[in-house]
Symmetry: C2
Subunit: 257 residues, 2 copies
DNA sequence: GTAGGACGATTGTAGGACAATATCAGAGGC
DNA sequence: GCCTCTGATATTGTCCTACAATCGTCCTAC
């Protein structure tokens, strides 16, 4: 399309290459991974809002690849639950329903409680050292903005997973849409909320360092139960937005072409 | 699909169409789903052993479709963890390592314990009725062969999930490779093992019917801890099988094709 | 006997074509 | 005036062909 043609028949017009992503286009065999990562970041960062359509032809243009890799990428994102795929209607960035958020948190609580327990009883010294290093930022007392916090939060939970050393579990955690939820929550992260969350992180880290599995798991549970409440509140707020002034958003920007 | 060719240029050897699956080839848009299901069943049933290669060109021949849908199907199976995809080397049916089995069971225990708890507190009468109906078979006293048992087992666990009414959880359970594990375990299902398992199912069902979440969850845990031990034993046996005395079990009954 | 290179098998990607389906807008009927 | 049916349009689903990249293997040369 548009430039597929350009790229080829031209002498690979340099212009085309300088497109969308500044990042170097990947080597053969890495195309799909590259597209998936690009889109995933766009979604997590909110650059692609829930409900945004992902049209194959647009993506072939944006990434200057053929439909094959694009379709493959979409399929993969769909498998991860980041987008929804409706037959003959294309893919859209998934918007979690309240029910889905509730269900996902119920699951996440169990998974992360397990991870905290495993982390607390982990012995491997070098993993414990890596853990300590990874969570360093949570001990900072400087105030955080929501974006900083989201990164710190993701890093913290991933560090726990890493220490727990259960590859399948870590893998599953990614599928549990925490980044998606977080991206859809953003607004509610007021300073008091952030501070409370950071304190909870410290308490969890402490229990893990103290090799106390029960405390680690219990504190993780509390932490996530609170997080679930925040997320649901955020969604409710967002929902009312859509309820009342659906018109505006839909018409203005959002919906489809 | 069996008809792509037919559909398009009229004659296209009927022979080609009469291949592998007798099942009716699907309508437009269902091709991928059809292939995925076919392969999934083959894997679950053991017709495709772990390690079997899945070569695209073979599959295009078998299903009489082009590479597009085949590749998409493989991707989907890969996302489900049923096959492994090595760059430029193709896909093979996944063989779980001992570590993976251990990790997956750790996770499954938490998930299903949660499901049992949720099921026990579920109120919806019609779902409870459906649950009771679905698990009916576990009350039979007639002896079971391993194949019957596997079906009954799958139905039982799925019934609990259904009663728990957490769609995400149910979805995740499928991704947790229980069928894969079961398929790779088959051989160790001796009558005493089966009977013990059935008894445990009854105990769980009883706790759920009695609306006792703690008991339901605890019994589910015990059940799966025992199952994990069986699975690990089976894998160990299987491993030695391949090494030294493949003979006995394999020849007697068990293995697959 | 090992290092290196040629070859074959298979996957990764491109590009073009057409069929099938969903969406939307306008024509016609009530 | 509102509803329904129909056609136009946009997009996806699938096929096909071709070529580049890569992995494995076998074969040769030293």
């Amino acid at each position: 399309m548009s430039n597929a043609a350009v790229r080829r028949n031209g002498k690979t017009s340099e212009t085309t290459q300088r497109r969308a992503r500044a990042a170097a286009p990947p080597a053969h065999g890495a195309t799909v991974a590259f597209i998936v990562e690009s889109l995933r970041e766009d979604i997590w960062a909110g650059r692609l809002e829930p409900g945004s359509r992902l049209v194959e032809s647009d993506l072939t243009a944006r990434f200057a690849v053929s439909r094959g890799p694009v379709r493959e990428s979409l399929r993969r994102l769909s498998a991860d639950g980041l987008i929804e795929h409706r037959p003959h209607r294309g893919a859209v960035v998934r918007r979690l329903t309240e029910r889905e958020i509730r269900e996902l948190f119920l699951i996440r609580i169990e998974m992360e409680a397990l991870a905290a327990r495993l982390a607390a009883v982990a012995e491997a010294p070098e993993r414990r050292a890596r853990f300590a290093a990874s969570i360093e930022p949570i001990h900072s007392d400087s105030p955080r903005n929501p974006c900083d916090y989201l990164k710190e939060n993701a890093a913290f939970h991933d560090a726990v997973m890493a220490l727990a050393d259960n590859l399948e579990l870590r893998d599953l955690a990614i599928r549990l849409q925490l980044p998606l939820i977080m991206a859809q929550v953003g607004d509610v992260l007021t300073p008091p909320v952030l501070e409370a969350s950071v304190r909870e992180h410290r308490a969890i880290a402490e229990a893990i360092s103290a090799r106390n599995p029960e405390a680690a798991s219990a504190r993780m549970r509390e932490h996530l139960e609170r997080a679930a409440a925040v997320a649901l509140a955020a969604r409710a707020a967002g929902a009312s937005d859509e309820g009342a002034s659906a018109s505006i958003q839909t018409i203005l920007g959002g919906k489809r072409r």
